[in-house]
Symmetry: C3
Subunit: 358 residues, 3 copies
């Protein structure tokens, strides 16, 4: 994957020489982010491995979606709140439908049945239900009040964001401290994976890679985000479609690969932990952090009132995840079902024009 790093200089050259080639810029900056996100993930894991289980887990849990956070902050600074919301919803939905679906399918093609810790899976699924509720209520509030409620909607969004962040912190205490045994399958597997595949880095090296990758992702994100609007116009796709199904997939490409590989090795606990865990992190950490960050960054604050369409697909994804992950077993049909739901969402947004409030 390292050869994809060549797209960094290509993107920079294009930006300097042919800034009006929006589609090209969009594609090259998007590809350039892929290896950077992978390096960032690796550096985070290496740092985490050096820090001991508690702090390490915390690091992983906080920086695991850093690429996503950086892209979203670029969009926030540009005032593209609709793109930020679309990519948050797309990331929640994509992780549990596309990543988990592909994992269950890939694993299920090799074995008739795979098993995982149902208690841990249900904990995470319930966290997602809370997250969905945290999106539904501001949207309903906003729909009930119309434009008259925009002032109090801001206060409501900030307050709910604080609650969601607090619950996320408590979830970390639960999964890393008081009930870490439930998630043990994951940790052991992760460690085994880490030792087997790559040699240990020094802390200095990990920190340097992390810092470098962060700076470069931030740069590429600015270019990517700047290209979304013209690309959407030229391609006839809606900005929301680009946000939900393109930007969101980019930020999670590294997770995709790891989760599918783990499922093929019959390490379903690790696979689920990555797929559902990433959605939990985006919903209960990235989204509220962005709402709070928007008070200081960007032209105007972002609220938690997502468009009804996005709230709907998040809710439906969470419902089917609870059904699929609740019994501790998976087969290829479950993978097909999750992918089919993702496809139905994609088709609907593909046909949705941009002018409509989605």
């Amino acid at each position: 994957m390292n050869w994809l790093l060549v797209f960094i200089p290509i993107t920079i050259a294009l930006e300097l020489l042919a800034a009006d080639q929006h589609v090209l810029l969009f594609v090259t900056s998007a590809i350039a982010i892929l290896p950077l996100a992978a390096w960032m993930g690796r550096a985070t894991e290496q740092l985490a491995a050096r820090m001991g289980e508690g702090v390490g887990g915390l690091l992983n849990a906080t920086f695991g979606n850093a690429a996503e956070l950086i892209i979203a902050i670029s969009a926030l600074r540009a005032g593209f709140h609709d793109v930020v919301k679309a990519s948050i919803a797309g990331s929640i939905v994509g992780n549990i439908l596309l990543v988990l679906g592909a994992s269950m399918l890939a694993g299920g093609l090799r074995r008739p049945e795979q098993h995982f810790n149902a208690v841990a899976a249900r904990s995470q699924a319930t966290m997602l239900t809370l997250a969905a509720i945290g999106l539904i209520l501001p949207a309903a509030y906003s729909a009930a009040l119309g434009k008259g409620g925009s002032a109090s909607l801001g206060a409501l969004s900030v307050t709910i964001s604080v609650v969601l962040l607090a619950v996320y912190c408590l979830f970390l205490v639960f999964s890393l401290m008081t009930h870490s045994a439930l998630f043990a399958g994951t940790h052991v597997a992760e460690e085994a994976e880490g030792t087997a595949l790559v040699p240990h880095w020094t802390i200095r090296r990990a920190a340097t890679v992390l810092a470098g990758a962060t700076v470069m992702i931030a740069w590429m994100s600015e270019i990517l985000v700047g290209a979304i609007e013209p690309v959407a116009q030229e391609s006839g796709l809606s900005k929301v479609f680009v946000g939900v199904f393109v930007v969101a997939i980019l930020g999670n490409a590294a997770e995709h690969a790891t989760a599918i590989t783990a499922a093929m090795k019959n390490r379903m606990d690790l696979s689920l932990s990555i797929a559902i865990g990433s959605s939990v992190q985006v919903a209960l950490f990235v989204a509220p952090v962005l709402v709070l960050a928007s008070l200081f960054i960007g032209p105007f604050p972002m609220d938690l009132a997502f468009p009804i369409g996005l709230v709907l697909i998040v809710l439906l994804s969470v419902l089917i995840t609870g059904q699929v992950a609740g019994d501790g077993r998976s087969d290829w049909l479950k993978g097909v079902l999750l992918l089919a739901v993702y496809l139905v969402f994609g088709i609907t947004y593909f046909f949705l024009p941009d002018v409509v409030p989605q």
Copy 2:
């Protein structure tokens, strides 16, 4: 039940001599369909038994709701898309609430607790959730776009229908081939039932009965469908009520009897397979086939955007089915609950006037 066949000549005579007796025609044609659907089901089973497990299962899965499909095609040709949609929704809802509810109640009155394969039941319940999502999104799309989106709604409906049909095919591969053991309880019971109750037919006899019943059902359906509108007007009931609660029950009358009998014999796997399986078949096979068929039959194509009310009752039915069938055990209270939900739906539609967009 065979004596009900006498209603075929009665209906034909009425149609010729007293075509304005709509209520009478509606009732007699409806009753005439009951024994025909039963004969059709028997012929399909006999053919299936002759064809070996794979092809036989496929036959059962494809022609199991043939009576329903024929009635719907008659309505499609008459341009009664609202009746078609109402009878599809009514059939999904009726199978999982009325048939499964009555089965669980009848079985539960004889035994304190009955058991069934929870994995198979959950597979089917998850299929239904996908089907519900496949109805929710076009409805939401249509609501978001209003009349402006009717062109793209057609394309959206066709695309989603293709996805649903593909998933249904994969489900057949799953339940008949790769994971047929999960559904073994059903097959064994079905076979045992077949041998015990009726002698084996020759293929020729089965094929002749199937063809004859199909032709007669098609005829009776034309008369039935033609009577819906005047009957609705004369009785003051809405066309949707007639579609959801009368037409849908007719198409599934044979399944009702078989599922309840199976439950009383403590063959809950067979009972659930018929009840939930029929809903899955209507939602993922009959509905998309009708959308695709409407491109060639009838005055204008039918889309997948069901009225909000119908989408709502399908979604709620699917939710409660997941809850009731997910744990592999049933008792009479579960039956009562499903029947009560069906009753609440019926009461609401009974009070709903026809003029309102439902």
Copy 3:
């Protein structure tokens, strides 16, 4: 808690001497209800213990939410249908989120994991789903028909109420007679609790206390309800917020204490039975009884069409309860999640102004 009884004379004195001190009256009458509800509960249990299991269980099931019913009837007589509906919804939501959440948290802080009878919990959760459906359909009906449907909405509400009451009666037959073994954990614990904590009363004493407490609660309720509107105006909170989060908590204060104490003693079956059981009772007994009672009491009949916002929070609560209670185990994170959902609901209604149709 008995010393709180001093608030009865204080409230009466205030009512006579300073009837315009609404906030003060609201607070003192509210506090006065707490010990009265506790005495009422104790008297009911004592009577129930004397009556044998069947009739006793029936008594408990009927008078368990008597305080709530009395407050609601006061509001009904005053024509405050919005407050009645808000307190019904608030009671359903509060019992399963606040009471169950606090119980799971309190119990989970002492033990890593607690267990309860999943079959009984799922039965009750499915009852709640039926109740939610019984609220969703009239609300959807009312939304579809607008003001034109108010006449038939009344008939619809009465009919659905009768269905809900019938199901509740059947649920009593199930839990007290045919399947009482499922709920055995609860009964044994309750009895043990009863014997250990308080001496047995005579029937005469229990009946006298019950009658006295009922009269006093009715009096205090009249004062409380009369103060709601001015208090809402003076505090700037909406009447719905006061109904959902203040009045509802009052009526259930006794249950709160008992359920949390039971959870701390690791009697999770009793704890769940109180928390979810109270919600079931409010949804399937108190609410329909109030609809039927409103035909005779108060200025005009109350329908079952709750405001969309209340229907939404009931539905979401029921969904997350099914997820949390379905697997027969609890930990502190589950408690936190339920409390967080309650908090998110509270925040949203806190920010909601009164003028909006909620």
